[in-house]
Subunit: 409 residues, 2 copies
Amino acid sequence: MGREFLDLVDISEAHRIIRNLFKEIYHPPPIEKVNLENAYGRVLAQNVKTPIDLPPFNRASRDGYALKAEDTFHASEDNPKTLKCIEVIEAGAIPQKRIKRGCCSRISTGAPIPEGADAIVMVEYAEEENDNIIIYKSAYPGQHIAQRGLDIPKNEIIAWKNSILSPEKIGAISAAGISKVPVIAKPKIGILSTGNELIEPSNDWTPGKIFDSNSHSIAAAVKKCGCEPKILGIVKDDYTKLHKAIQEGILECDILITSGGTSAGAGDMLREVIEDIGKVMIHGISIKPGKPTLIGEVKGKLVFGLPGFPVSALIIFDVLLRPYLMELSGKPPIEHRRVELPLARRLHSSKGRIHYALVKVKNGRAYPILKDSGAITSLADADGYIKIPKNVEILEEGSRVKVSPLSPI
Amino acid sequence: MGREFLDLVDISEAHRIIRNLFKEIYHPPPIEKVNLENAYGRVLAQNVKTPIDLPPFNRASRDGYALKAEDTFHASEDNPKTLKCIEVIEAGAIPQKRIKRGCCSRISTGAPIPEGADAIVMVEYAEEENDNIIIYKSAYPGQHIAQRGLDIPKNEIIAWKNSILSPEKIGAISAAGISKVPVIAKPKIGILSTGNELIEPSNDWTPGKIFDSNSHSIAAAVKKCGCEPKILGIVKDDYTKLHKAIQEGILECDILITSGGTSAGAGDMLREVIEDIGKVMIHGISIKPGKPTLIGEVKGKLVFGLPGFPVSALIIFDVLLRPYLMELSGKPPIEHRRVELPLARRLHSSKGRIHYALVKVKNGRAYPILKDSGAITSLADADGYIKIPKNVEILEEGSRVKVSPLSPI
């Protein structure tokens, strides 16, 4: 009953194969243009240069009076200088009059400096008297003027390729008058759940059935990687239906993830389908959970067959897919601060396979979660998982283990 | 020219006032229901209980044969037991036949256990011979059966209020057949930029104008807080226009943020408008940048008037708004791991005001960024900022400073 696995590969060989497939198939990553409104958190795909000088003109950086600095030399409280005010320049306006010796214009912060002026004296150090302005403090040339291009000159790079578009970078880009940016396109990941027993969570429960949880949990995990999930629904364990679903799904996605239907049991259809329309690269990895994992290629795109048990599916996603999907979307690697803690209880492992075991962290100790991998609540309770080498059968209470955290977002 | 500030308040008093206003106005936070597809990263507003037992029935956790354990006692390779196979039960099917002594049913992982059976023997330890099944290993009662409700019984809490909806929690919720969840509604934050000199980044540049960058940078900072920004556009420094924009904006938002038009200069309209249609709580804080910051209330909602300079606007947002917006959206506080580093260069500060100064971190030292606060590129370059107490005028090279990081997302 059922077919055998291909040769089991070990986890490092699986990583090598997957890494190469990603490099071969998904390089270079496609680029899309998005409006600034939708750019936050995205990854810049090209350097962005400013097409204008910033600031774009000599600009007042204080409210005050634009004048010739030499007209204020030696001015003080005791020795004020009097200038004639010839214009009022608001921000956004264009100065109409040139400043000559003995003259000044009232100017607002952000307004262009009139020709002839080379300094601003702040309002605090001046007084108006009809059309005359009395200046109580001397200024140096350039005072309170932001020179054109001083912040950054035209054609300089204002945001670098591969940087994440933060509020600050988005501010700089919009200041340069750019309203669309090239970002790495979010890879589209199709998600299929297979199994005759599955029904949608929005349906009523009927005997013998269980609600499909993998579609939604994997879709969220895909978002966590900076990719765009597309839930393709539930497929029965039926060759024709699965064949059709995969052929259609692969067309609208960059990568297809299925769960269920991979074990060497009664319902094993996935491998047959992939073999018929593509190629199976891996079927069987010497890890627990996740031994029946399948990796194949169809029409030049990758298909990942994850185990059906919710816990197994999410752990295998985290181990085998997350790092590559994050790289593909340009999301910087999660700082996987693994924490070394003592094990709170003895734990048995499976000899000959690497074993990923969920743990809960409490009072500085790692408690193994011993529910079976069909138990969805064990994941919701877990703080992380530990990796037990394949030659270890028993981890004693108190052994130091490294916990990989399961961060919520 | 222009009006004076209200009494300057210090930063701790400003925080006290803002904290109280948020508590008064936005408590309890409104709740909305979202589909699971849109639930990732949101904050659960109520406990979610499972309306069904999980698993919902006694379920096979391996492919094998459902039987009475006692029929297998003492079975071994040398002493196999023979049972009659009376049914094949696939996952999703409902068993039709009761298991009596001497009988078994072939069963798939996930299928319901037939009545009368109390154990599963895995396929690996059995052989088919016509309608007979030869069993080579004895089983104990309960073996490979996931009991109904064992994972979590009906009406128990499956995800807790205030938790972030991670892939794991979304998996647990969908397994319980729940397709919509109550989450904390994202606060809607309206964003206005004021100033005659501003034009949209999507327009062509014209002399005397600058591109509005605050709308986009603040919108991204609002998203970073888990809130929903609504860019309301640019308003001229004109009483009637600002009055209209604020009255309309406040209707469709929970909080309104403006930038520009708050200083005691020529274009100071915001305070007049807020005084006429609401109340000004704070105008002037003894910090640098951000002294002209205004906080008011209009129609029971908060209005924040940030300074117009891009750097000042974002720093003040980070200091005065971010913590409260994150609390409002239910987003857990950023682990603000402030790093203590030596200052790479002497830095002058403003006596009498707390000074927030941008720094770039290089080779383990904090370099002050000395551009003026109109320079948008200084923010794009900065790694964080330091807070200089108001009684400090000079920080010497080598002094230890605590850098608050500006994380990109």
